[in-house]
Amino acid sequence: MKEVAASDISARVAELCMRACTVLPPDVVAAIEAARDREESPIGREVLSRLLENAALAAEQGIPMCQDTGLAVVFVELGEDVELTSGYLEAAIAEGVREGYEKGYLRKSVVYSPFDRRNTGDNTPPVIHTQVIPGASLEITVAAKGAGSENMSALRMMAPADGIDAVKRFVVETVENAGASACPPVVVGLGLGGSFEQCALIAKRALLRPLDDRNPDPAAADLEDELLALINATGIGPMAVGGRTTALAVKVETAPCHIASLPVAVNLQCHAARHASYRWK
């Protein structure tokens, strides 16, 4: 049994919120740099350079790279042999979000409900997804998910007969429809299979993968390559000003599904692909 104090979880989560919003992960910076070097459109290159400048400024001065510091979406991998002392997991995470958004001067962007749209004032509650795994490890990832790209995401329950070509059309259509609103170049998280809700969740998890990794499933890896080429042929370009860089990466996650189903979820992520993780040793 490994003991973790709830207060320690809160402190780490607060730090993750602040780090995610101010420091763009190195793989994302590298992907934007590579895109800038490849971009054929002069204005597209210009925009990518400004985005890199923005990221550097944010990291250096400790200010958020984007004013939409998002809804805190928190992924927890909790080992069965971890015991939480003096507190509860979800309350500890919420406390961390409250602290992080206050101390980091991050924007509070959560309202009580779709009916009562008053701001909760502290960016809680977070959205928490917990996976219980064997062992004594604990890992928490905070993704600060802005609404610009989230609002342009889409889910469709397709029929198996529609096939992968229909999936490709739906993905490209979703990115085209999003245009500048999703703040391209985007990262596309594609969930294929599972149930209605699982499909959306794996699409979001796909966004946490390093942009330069290779999907171990060859069929999924091929689909990622093909979709990236199709999306970058749309001409939308960085911030939709025209160019070859509409997406930095496409990440596909799959799950077994019902014989009658082909759920497809496209979760868009803006170029400020903000997430940070901490693993308790």
């Binding site: 459109s41 002069p42 204005i43 597209g44 210009e46 925009v47 400004r50 985005l51 400048e53 923005n54 990221a55 400024l57 944010a58 001065q61 400790g62 200010i63 958020p64 790279m65 984007c66 004013q67 939409d68 510091t69 001067y105 991050l106 924007r107 509070k108 962007s109 749209r117 701001n119 004032g121 609404a147 610009g148 609002n151 245009g179 500048a180 609103s181 703040c183 042929a233 749309t234 001409g235 939308i236 370009g237 911030m239 939709a240 000003v241 025209g242 160019g243 070859r244 803006c270 170029h271 400020a272």
Partner: protein, 191 residues
């Protein structure tokens, strides 16, 4: 088509905008704006629409002014504002034509506008600018002062007057029906 933002092609604008300022702007041009921008997004627009429906005045005179769709992060000590990049303009589409009819001359956001808004821009001689989405840290450096105007209880959604110096933007929709996003896609799409 988007021009390269060289110093020769940059157009300097000062608020309040005059009709002749708007008439010469074309989709795809880069501008830098100095003067005052009024912040307003979803909740502030809803309140302004409710005020108009009750026959009340708006909290500021929109004539010749530019609204910036932004909900900044709180200012850390020593700064006037936190990150302050544009939010998606389309969410304000249903409110915009009424403000243009009252003399609003410009709006800054990101993303496309509805056909109704583009028509109203033509009819009332106004322009929609796009600012660099997701570059909130960089854009905040062009904001010199922040003054509360109305709806402070809305927090990040309150209306504030931002004093800006050379705030960069692109003309997305001009008053002739030009659309820079459509032009860009036509030019760069691979067959």
């Amino acid at each position: 088509m988007f021009d390269r933002p060289s110093s020769e092609s940059l157009i300097h604008l000062t608020t309040p905008l005059q009709e002749e300022d708007v008439l010469r702007l074309r989709a795809g041009q880069w501008v830098v704006i100095s003067g005052t921008l009024y912040t307003a997004r979803d909740a502030a627009h809803k309140r302004m629409a409710e005020a108009l429906a009750r026959g009340e005045d708006l909290p500021f005179d929109v004539k010749g002014q530019i609204i910036y769709y932004v909900g900044p992060t709180p200012p850390p000590p020593g700064r006037v504002i936190g990150a302050a990049g544009p939010t998606t303009a389309g969410r304000m589409d249903s409110y915009t034509p009424a403000l243009l009819a009252l003399g609003l001359k410009g709006a800054i956001g990101k993303g496309p506008r509805s056909a109704e808004v583009r028509d109203a821009l033509k009819q009332h001689k106004a322009v929609y600018f796009g600012a660099l989405g997701g570059a909130g840290a960089l854009l905040s450096q062009r904001i010199r002062a922040v003054e509360p105007i109305a709806y402070e209880d809305l927090g990040p959604e309150a209306i504030r007057g931002l004093t800006v110096e050379d705030f960069p933007a692109i003309v997305v929709n001009d008053c002739q029906g030009g659309d820079a996003y459509e032009d860009a896609r036509r030019r760069w799409r691979k067959a």
